[in-house]
Each structure stands twice: as structure tokens, then as C-alpha cells.
Symmetry: C2
Subunit: 321 residues, 2 copies
């Protein structure tokens, strides 16, 4: 693990990540190519989410996903993907349980991570409560427990990312642990320049244990938001997005499930990110139109594995027993 | 808490529970009356189970249920029964997670109850593994945590019973804790003469903290088994049962859910106690036939609350903060 003296790090931090080559070039493409990861968040959350996401990978254009290990249905994912050895699947670090009546708690023992346990005995509903209550040590313990739990059910994680962005909207130390763990396991963690500017640059000493040179920054992230859902609808939103995709690497984050009884019950009280929203995502990313849009716009699909080749090459499993 | 010297307890144990009056008589009925609790186990386990069980209580003849607090959907029950203040609902003490891909762990911190946590990080699949691994202290901690969790979501438990019977098929100390906790909270715990003979009588010293005089024994318990399901079908089994009900108090245990995607996924790999089984239970106990059978056989429906009046009268909440 590379460690720099603070003054060097501070100097370095001002131009760290400023690789000579763009990420696209490092991946073997040209600077003007449009590269896209179509990423389904939240697999493992529910049976509906699992079935729909797998279907959208098998028969749609979704080519990457990340798993919420604390949920009751995460184990099922290990079974469902047994015949998909090349699957791009990361650990969707989950620090919150936003749903009102469908509950989950941390994977680590509650006594080890009391700051991640709300008054109802489950995770807090929002990132702010996590930031207020959970120490950096607790968050690191839980992140590691989630990665280890994924390994235990046969998943070889290709990347880390963060459910509801709570790693980034929490304390700066959470980001340090997130990057440190990603490097420890030899996989990339989703990051971009805004996070570097907002969190790493003002707190360089917190990142002593991270080899910042190896952190890969995604050029663009794209995600439907409530306004897009309400005003445009998913079809129009994603069509516009793909027709206007910028050169470089974009991670398009979607949320795929069926609009069924289970998903409607889980998302009760939510007017967004709910069952109908997830079904609309499913419909778009398994339809014909998206294929045509990808073709018309000369969009190259890539996955986290190619990015992983730039950082750790192969998954390192230092924690295996 | 009444404590008797061992020799007195041993003497007492040989004729304890031998009340002068039958349970039916103590409840204000005659010795020859047929009294029945129609009890749906497993509410809280799944959304499908919750919706179907509530429907079978509201519009069928089910008149009691008990909740599996460790499951992801237990919190929903607190919401669903808000307008059912008189509902008979107990805590279905859950020490196992029998399903292959739908998982839950103990409510207590894993570090407090390591013997209840299997190698996959969830509860063991069967009672034998629990008995082998979980100390009496751990089981008592978890039982108390489950009762407290029920109170926290607004449930006033009317009774305790045991999922898969693991309290009874475990170590004798588990039964002592189960009875002790029931008395502490002022509610009855499901018990019968066989458990007294097999567990209490051979181990009287373990029951020092239990007021055995107050333990109520159910006369009969009835439950469909795999053979009944396979050979007779649920309709024939329950019809025969109700047409041949014995005088005294019977607790009829059923398992009510819809045969839907969620329940089929949860019960994957099970040829019994599965989605179709639970739908068959739903169909029978919400149909017209059961009402006619209850009437024709002059069966009186009672609930655990009436039995509770014999032991603790009112729910005592010594643990409330």
C-alpha cells in the first residue's frame, strides 16, 4: 500500500487522477468513442428484482449489476447466476434500509456496528442518519462484511458502488475505507471527479492508505431522477440520454424489477424508485428500441471487468480462509 | 416467581397440570364441548403470507396467528394490523431459517447468539443444528429479543409458540426459558401433555423459575402433514378433522399464503409446506365449507386471549423502557 507524506500527498492531490490518457484510451478506444456500462443497481433486494435483473441481463442490454448483500434475497442471486460465470457483478455497499415495511439490518454483528442500527433494529432510512450515527470504523466493518458475504455465496465481485450514494454523502472517511477496501480486494470502486474534488482534495490525510494513482474515475454517470420520470417518462429520458451520450465512459445506473405484488409492497409509500419505475426500466432495457439507439449512436458497451483490468487485474482475495 | 425446593417440585411434577377442571371447563364451557383455535402460523415471513393470513382472518375463519419476527416482512404486520386491535397474535419463536434462498438471521446481535448463526451467516435450517449449536442462554436471549421486537412494532402478543417446534425439539432448557418468558410477559405459551412428560418431568430442576401451576396445557394440537397433503388433500384432511374433533381445546395449526411468485421462490426445493400447500390452506379456511363444518359439528371458536385470561389476565410488559 503506497503511503505518501502529507505534503507530497497534498501536492499530488491537486493533479492526481489527471492521467495523460483518457479512460477510454486506456481501455483501448479512442478519445471520441462513446463507452457505456448499462448497470442495474439493487439485485439481491427482492425476488422480483432478482428475476427481472437476470432476465434483463440474459435477454436485454443490461451488462452489469451490483448486489445488496444485507437483504433477504441476496443468497438467491448466488444460485441464479451459477451458470453465468462471466457476469459483471459488484457489491452495492448498502448502509440504509429506505423501505417502510420491508426490513434488513447490517451483516456485521449489531454490537460491532451499533451506529448502523436504527431505533427499529434495522438500518436507517437515509444517508444523513447514517452519517450522523455510524463511525468510520463501523462503516468499514460493515463494508468488509458485505464483500465477504458476497464471496461466501460464490460471487467474485467485479467492482464496488454505493446504494443511495451513502458512502459519498456520509463522512469523508467512508470514501477512504471504500477505496481502501476496493484496492485490498483488487477491484475498482465507482468514483468520479466530483467526489475527488468534494471529498478527497479537502481531506488528503484521510486517504493515506489509498493508492490514489490507481483510482479510476468514471467520466460520466447517468441516472433517471424523479423529474425525468414524472415529466418525460423513462422511454423519452433514456432515448434522449443515448442520443446525446458524451464521449468517454458513462455508467448508466438503472433499477430493474417487475411491477408485481412483492415490489409494490416493498415500495409502498414511494412515488419514485417504486415498482412501476422499475418495470419501466425493465421494459426499456429489454426492448428493441434501446438496441437500435446503441447502434445508431455507435455506443460501445463495456463492463467493470475491463476497468478492473486497469487497477487490480485479477480479483485478489486476501480475506479468504 | 414461585420457586419450590427440588424434592417438592419432583413430587409436584408428577401431578402438576392435573387440574381438577378441564381446560374447557375453566374457560366456561362443558367438558364435552369442542373448542377450537384456528391458528395461522408464520405471519411476518413474507408479503404473500402477510396478505393471505390477514385476508383469512378478515374474511375467513382463521382467528389467531403468530409472527416470525426475524423475517424481512415482520414489520409490515405491525402496519397491516393497526386497525385490528383485538387481533389474537402471538410470537412464533423462530430459531431456524429453513428456506434455501430466502434468508434471515437472529434479531439479537450475532455476537450475543453465535450458536444461532450458521456458517452462511443466517439461522440454521433445522432444529437439530440449533440444538447442537445454540446454548440455552443464547436461545433465551433470542426469544426475548423476538418478543421485544414484536412489542416495538405495536404488537401486544397474546401467546408464544414455536416455529418448527424447535423449542421442543431442542434442549430441555429451551422449554424452561420459553415458559419462564411467557410468565414474565404474562401470556400463555403453547404446551401439551407430551411436552410435559418428555421434557419437564425428567428435568424438574431446570424448571425452578417456572410457576408450573400456571402452565396451561392444550388438549389437542392438529396440523396437516406431508402424508395428509399427498394422500388426502387439504380439503379432505381438514373436513375429516373437523368432523371428528374431540371434546376439549384443539389448536389447529395451518400455514396461509398465496401460491404466487414470491412464495414459490421462497419455498423453492420444498415439496411440502410450499406455496401450493399454503394456498390450499387459504382456500379451505376462507371457503364456505369450513363454516358449515364448524356449525354442523357444534364447534366453538376460542382464541389465545381467553386462555391468557386464565394465566396472566393482562399482558405484563416488564421490559418496556
Amino acid at each position: 500500500m503506497k503511503k505518501l507524506p502529507l505534503f507530497l500527498l497534498m501536492l499530488f492531490s491537486s493533479y492526481c487522477f489527471a492521467q495523460e490518457k483518457t479512460l477510454a484510451e486506456r481501455l483501448g478506444y479512442s478519445k471520441t468513442d462513446k463507452l457505456l456500462i448499462i448497470h442495474a443497481d439493487d439485485i439481491g433486494m427482492a425476488n422480483s428484482e432478482n428475476r427481472a435483473t437476470i432476465e434483463a441481463i440474459r435477454n436485454g442490454v443490461v451488462n452489469s449489476t451490483s448486489i445488496m448483500m444485507p437483504c433477504a434475497w441476496s443468497t438467491e442471486v448466488g444460485e441464479l447466476i451459477k451458470d453465468m460465470p462471466g457476469l459483471d457483478i459488484g457489491v452495492h455497499i448498502t448502509l440504509t434500509n429506505e423501505w417502510h415495511t420491508y426490513k434488513y439490518g447490517p451483516i456485521a454483528s449489531k454490537s460491532e456496528v451499533p451506529g448502523l442500527v436504527g431505533p427499529d433494529g434495522f438500518m436507517y432510512k437515509d444517508c444523513a442518519s447514517v452519517a450522523q450515527n455510524a463511525s468510520p470504523e463501523e462503516v468499514e466493518i460493515e463494508m468488509r462484511a458485505q464483500i465477504e458475504a458476497a464471496l461466501k455465496i460464490g460471487i467474485r465481485p467485479t467492482h464496488l458502488d454505493s446504494h443511495m450514494g451513502c458512502v459519498f454523502y456520509g463522512r469523508p472517511e467512508y470514501v477512504a475505507s471504500y477505496l481502501k477496501l476496493a484496492q485490498e480486494y483488487g477491484i475498482p470502486a465507482m468514483m468520479n471527479q466530483q467526489i475527488v474534488d468534494a471529498i478527497i482534495k479537502p481531506n488528503p490525510s484521510l486517504f493515506n492508505e489509498v493508492d490514489l494513482e490507481k483510482v479510476v474515475l468514471i467520466d460520466h454517470t447517468a441516472i433517471a431522477n424523479p423529474q425525468a420520470y414524472d415529466d418525460m417518462g423513462m422511454d423519452a429520458f433514456y432515448s434522449h440520454l443515448l442520443n446525446n451520450l458524451q464521449p468517454g465512459v458513462t455508467v448508466l445506473l438503472n433499477h430493474i424489477a417487475y411491477d408485481d405484488e412483492e415490489m409494490r409492497a416493498i415500495t409502498t409509500g414511494f412515488s419514485h424508485w417504486h415498482a412501476a419505475w422499475r418495470q419501466a426500466d425493465f421494459d426499456f432495457f429489454t426492448g428493441e428500441k434501446v438496441r437500435q439507439l446503441l447502434k445508431d449512436n455507435k455506443i460501445h458497451l463495456i463492463t467493470w471487468k475491463e476497468i478492473g483490468n486497469l487497477v487490480g487485474n485479477e480479483l485478489i482475495l486476501p480475506q479468504r480462509k
